[in-house]
């Protein structure tokens, strides 16, 4: 019996070469014209938002965008209604099937100028950061909402996040009828243990979130509109990740929505699916704060990988931080115990020591370790900007040393994970860590 795959996602990419203000929002000859007034009106429908700053940002602009909370690739569903970022702005429905339009070369930069967070990310469009970041070469719409009176801080953060997603959908919708530059099809049958193949079955373990830095003790929603603090390891379809079921947390720590929409490991496994391997599916889980829970979740995750997906091998990626490192290693160890070969991503947390010194686990079987980036490597950035978006020259920039520094200082000393578009916890960056 033959049948069509249940989850077939077609991503139609359109290259946008320029962004310009316009009397209406539409695209012509790869130029996207944006009626900022109309976009503003859409974003102001959310009563938690008092006003919103909207700016165009281009490579080479001497501008520093601060309080950066997310970067979103403009995308919209073509053949479904109310299906964009389900649970966040769309209705609750399964993401990952049908046709999606995706704009390349532009993004939405989402800033929260009212942020009280210790960590907040930044992007410069000129100078060192622009050279390092993939976003430095792209064109952007920067949006920065301000808080309406009487809004709770965390509630407002959710509003900012959603404003970014809405803006991304709004831009993508405006390009209807434009020629499509590339069509990618992501199609994967539900896992079947019975299928005969000589190819190894490779699964992906996706550590989605860690609650360790929850701002004022509340987790960020990042999965179909909800948070996943207490998520029991579960199986999701990889297309759900690519197509808006998962978004970035409220802080960019070497990870944002754009990075998830272009998920490095998932795309790589898809590319090799049917050629070198069978992509057996995705198990997602979270980093756990408590040791007994951690053991239980690691056991359950490994069982899903082995006994449900029937995987021979698994790639595991982590979220930013030390606790997630420990947690992920335990999942890998449990997988190896069950005979599933692992490749685990780690992130050295300091730049001092040998690579071996930076491991936070001691498990002989976990012997294939990929260094996704020393995301906490420090770098001194001379100021090249004369304009600030999403905040001001007085916006604080985090440094782990006990010093206070501001966005307008002549030089800031930052860790690279706070520079949007440099590192990528999901494996999409061409970075490796070496001893020097």
């Amino acid at each position: 019996m033959t049948r069509e795959a249940l989850m077939r996602l077609e991503i139609q990419s359109i290259d946008i070469h320029d962004l310009k203000p316009g009397a209406k929002t539409y695209a012509k000859d790869r130029v996207l014209y944006v009626n900022c007034k109309e976009l503003e009106e859409i974003l102001l429908k959310d009563r938690r938002i008092k006003s919103v700053d909207i700016h165009f940002v281009y490579p080479g602009d001497r501008v520093r965008i601060v309080n950066l909370m997310d970067v979103v690739q403009p995308r919209c569903k073509i053949d479904k209604v109310e299906a964009d970022f389900p649970g966040f702005i769309g209705k609750m429905q399964i993401a990952g099937s049908g046709r999606t339009r995706s704009l390349r070369g532009i993004t939405v930069l989402v800033s929260n100028p009212c942020s009280n967070r210790k960590y907040s990310a930044l992007l410069d469009m000129s100078g060192v950061v622009a050279e390092m970041s993939r976003y430095g070469k792209m064109k952007h719409i920067s949006i920065a909402p301000t808080m309406a009176d009487g809004t709770e801080e965390r509630d407002f953060e959710d509003a900012v996040k959603i404003a970014g997603l809405k803006a991304a959908v709004y831009l993508a919708r405006a390009t209807e009828g434009q020629p499509v530059d590339e069509v990618e099809v992501y199609e994967l049958d539900p896992p079947s243990l019975n299928k005969k193949s000589d190819l190894p079955r490779v699964a992906y373990y996706y550590q989605l979130y860690s609650p360790q830095h929850d701002h004022i003790g509340i987790s960020d929603p990042c999965f179909y509109g909800t948070d996943v603090r207490n998520l029991t390891p579960t199986i999701i379809h990889p297309n759900e990740v690519l197509d808006g079921g998962v978004v970035g947390a409220h802080t960019i720590r070497a990870l944002d929505t754009y990075t998830i929409q272009n998920h490095g490991v998932i795309k790589e496994l898809y590319q090799r699916h049917g050629k070198d391997l069978i992509f057996a599916g995705v198990v997602c889980g979270v980093a756990n704060m408590e040791p007994v829970t951690r053991s239980r979740q690691a056991m359950m995750a490994s069982s899903l990988v082995k006994n449900v997906l029937g995987a021979d091998g698994v790639v595991l990626t982590k979220i930013h931080g030390g606790l997630p490192h420990v947690d992920l290693a335990l999942v890998a160890e449990e997988c190896e115990k069950l005979g599933v070969k692992t490749a685990i991503f780690i992130q050295p947390l300091v730049s001092y020591g040998t690579l071996a010194d930076t491991l936070l686990f001691n498990a002989e079987a976990v012997n294939l370790i990929i260094t996704v980036g020393a995301t906490m490597e420090r770098i001194k950035i001379p100021l090249d900007a004369d304009r600030f978006l999403g905040g001001t020259a007085d916006t604080k920039i985090y440094c782990p040393d006990p010093i206070i520094q501001h966005a307008g200082d002549p030089v800031i000393d930052v860790e690279q994970f706070l520079m949007a578009g440099v590192h990528d916890h999901l494996g999409g960056a061409n970075i490796i860590v070496k001893e020097y």
């Binding site: 790589e268 090799r272 300091v350 012997n367 061409n430 001893e435």
Partner: protein
């Protein structure tokens, strides 16, 4: 590098400095003009670009007996020449000479902020002692390899002084690759650009692992040593106990600058002034971003249990509480530095004659 000739100072021991053999190993510092012995080969390798203006010589025993002090003494002799580059040795497998080359490089590099280059055989104890502070080129175990070793050292030196940007590094620093330039890594990590993404590397290597083929992990697993617990204390009544914590408790303002994450420092505070019985919670802060410090800020005794210790002393259950408390912040600190700090604290605790330590963590 402009047209100006670079000034080079070269360090040698008594033997290579042509003062004498083992019988002259006690001799102190001697300064001679121009290149001497291996310095001639160095000058040849440097060619027209640089001049060995001075050779500083010291006996191996004199230097290695007190490397810190000797380094300072040597630095004073070197400083007036305002060198652009500093070379020492190479020391090959000679242990005391290796320590001397490393020690002088450390002093010069830290103070004059110029590239310092030496050469050693991998088993030379100077490698592990000084690799952090100097570029130590890998050499053979004897002077037979002199010319080749010196040519490696000069090649590395020219790279270091070139002012080129390291386009292969995310940080753009001009750091030569230890493999390409044949030196012992200085135990630092750097993000490097690479052809393949982490995703591509992970899947490719995993497939090799699945096929049972050789695969290359990007990190080689460390071998952890087992630490045997010390024998228990026989008489607690007569014992002096010190409190040590990695919870990051510091006075308000964090005067010693402990970092909240990836901290590499530790410090001491006098208990009577730092944590008196009538402490004020507003006097403290926590230099540690890895836990919620609210309860500890309310009562720092919950991290550093001075109150309980005072009670136990009153009850006669323990002898004394050491008047100082050692504070550090252990949050994503690399294990190597943790071990070093442990050694440093252990040495200090021993020196103070304290018999027992209570370590409190978070």
């Amino acid at each position: 590098m402009n047209g100006k000739k670079l000034k080079v100072v070269h360090y040698l021991n008594q033997f290579f400095g042509q003062i004498g053999g083992e019988e002259k190993a006690e001799i102190g510092f001697v300064v001679k003009a121009g290149p001497i012995g291996p310095g001639l080969a160095l000058q040849r390798a440097l060619g027209e670009k640089a001049d060995v203006v001075t050779t500083v010589i010291c006996g191996d025993n004199y230097f290695s007996k007190n490397p810190e002090q000797a380094g300072e003494e040597g630095l004073k002799l070197i400083e007036p020449y305002h060198p652009d580059l500093f070379f020492a040795g190479p020391a090959f497998a000679a242990g005391r000479y290796g320590v001397a080359c490393g020690g002088i490089c450390k002093a010069v590099g830290e103070r004059l902020e110029i590239p310092v280059i030496t050469g050693m055989y991998p088993e030379n104890p100077g490698v592990d002692m000084y690799r952090k502070y100097a570029y130590i080129c890998k050499t053979g175990n004897s002077a037979r390899n002199m010319a080749e070793s010196i040519s490696h050292m000069t090649r590395l030196a020219f790279k270091l002084i070139s002012g080129e940007q390291g386009a292969h590094l995310v940080s753009r620093e001009n750091l030569p690759g230890p493999g390409e330039y044949d030196y012992f890594s200085r135990i630092i990590l750097r993000n490097e650009y690479t052809d393949k993404t982490a995703a591509e590397r992970s899947v490719e290597k995993l497939l090799a692992k699945l096929r049972g083929e050789p695969f290359e992990s990007e990190v080689i697993l460390p071998k952890f040593e087992r630490v045997a617990p010390p024998p228990p204390i026989k008489d607690l009544h007569a014992c002096e106990i010190i409190l040590v914590s990695d919870g990051g408790l510091v006075p308000k303002g964090n005067p010693d600058g402990l970092s909240g994450r990836g901290n590499l420092r530790w410090t001491t505070y006098e208990i009577d002034t730092f944590l008196p019985e009538n402490f004020k919670s507003s006097d403290y802060e926590i230099a540690h971003t890895g836990y919620f410090p609210v309860q500890i800020l309310e009562d720092p005794n919950r991290l550093v249990p001075v109150d309980i210790m005072r009670e136990l002393i009153k009850e006669g259950k323990i002898g004394r509480l050491h008047p100082h408390f050692f504070s550090t912040s252990g949050n994503a600190t690399v294990s190597r530095r943790c071990a070093e700090m442990g050694d440093e604290m252990g040495e200090e605790i021993k020196k103070r004659g304290v018999e027992a330590v209570i370590l409190t963590s978070t």
